[in-house]
């Protein structure tokens, strides 16, 4: 039975042709599979990094100064991207730049709200020359201001401040 099967050459070309076709098809599509697998792994890493780089923000103030304290509570370094200053009437922002403001894992960054300067337009100026960094904004008295910071990996943290009028 087996000998007869091996001797019979009829239909061999179809079998060889189909095998070659499948090999060529596999060669073509394996490139796409490999690329997709690589990209998926890369993006999994991005998402994992985001989950492992959480931040927290608090506001502290006394009679003369206001500070924002950004805590890196994750295991990775964090780069701040933008600070939002939100009131009922306006949504302002201060850009930190892309690679200028790292907060190391477990560390914190202080941002001073320079309440002597009134912002113009949507973008608030940030001064990087001083330490801590100064954001040129004057919070309105009596209204609640929400500060929200967004990192390069799109993690956010927020806190609010309501300055009471002097008695």
């Amino acid at each position: 039975m087996l000998r007869r099967f091996l001797k019979d050459r009829e239909g061999a070309s179809e079998v060889v042709g189909t095998a070659l076709f499948l090999v060529i098809l596999f060669f073509f599509f394996s490139n796409v599979f490999l690329w997709h697998d690589q990209v998926s792994s890369q993006m999994d890493q991005v998402v994992a990094d985001r989950m492992n780089s959480g931040i927290r923000m608090d506001v502290t103030f006394n009679e003369t100064d206001i500070w924002l304290v950004v805590d890196n509570v994750g295991g990775l370094d964090v780069s701040l991207s933008r600070l939002w200053i939100i009131t009922d009437d306006a949504h302002l922002y201060a850009d930190f730049g892309l690679d200028e403001n790292f907060v190391g894992a477990g560390r914190q960054m202080n941002i001073t709200i320079d309440n002597m300067t009134v912002p113009a337009g949507e973008e608030v100026q940030v001064s990087f020359v001083s330490d801590p960094i100064e954001v040129k904004y004057k919070p309105p008295v009596g209204d609640t201001v929400v500060f929200r910071v967004i990192t390069k990996r799109a993690n956010t943290a927020a806190c609010s401040l309501t300055l009471q009028p002097p008695p």
């Binding site: 073509f28 690329w35 991005v46 933008r82 939002w84 939100i86 949504h91 922002y93 390069k152």
Partner: protein, 162 residues
């Protein structure tokens, strides 16, 4: 030599083989170039959707203009993003891009629409179907952004005063 040239036998099998090889080579080249183009389109198009990461970083309901909403998007993915359509509470709405709101802009596919580059912020103004302070307006606005590659980002936002 003269005998070789004078002998016309077996011309047709040789010619047939040459033509067959030619057809196979041309056919496979066509298939290969089609496949390369297909893969290239897939990789730069829908296949790259997995590399898109978009965040709605802020939404502003301006009381001076209740017929629209300002939205800031942040691209933190590995590839530039182009918006295809925006929906508010399920309704498709018109949207306008603010050129000054992004640090870096580009038009990679040359179709005239703006691509938001990676780690770039961009502001859009959405025109609402119903004013957000209208009596018929819902207190919660569901914003849905759809990119050209098919990525969907959806969030809910309360209107002011709710």
């Amino acid at each position: 030599m003269r005998k070789f040239r004078g002998n016309n036998r077996a011309i047709s099998p040789v010619l047939g083989t040459v033509i067959l090889v030619l057809i196979v080579v041309i056919g496979m080249s066509a298939v290969f170039s089609f496949f390369v183009g297909y893969v290239s389109d897939y990789q730069s198009g829908r296949g790259s959707a997995v590399m898109e990461l978009l965040e709605i970083e802020d939404v502003f309901f301006d009381s001076d203009d209740t017929g629209s909403v300002d939205v800031w998007l942040y691209n933190y993915g590995e590839i530039e993003v182009e918006l295809d359509s925006v929906f508010v509470n399920g309704w498709p709405v018109d949207f306008v891009f603010y050129p000054a709101s992004a640090r870096e802009l580009g038009d990679f596919d040359g179709n005239g629409a703006v691509d938001i580059l990676t780690f770039s912020h961009a502001k859009y103004r959405l025109s609402l179907v119903v004013d957000w302070d209208d009596e018929d307006a819902k207190p919660v606005h569901v914003l849905r952004f759809v990119t050209k590659r098919g990525t969907i980002v959806e969030r809910e936002y309360f209107t002011p005063g709710v």
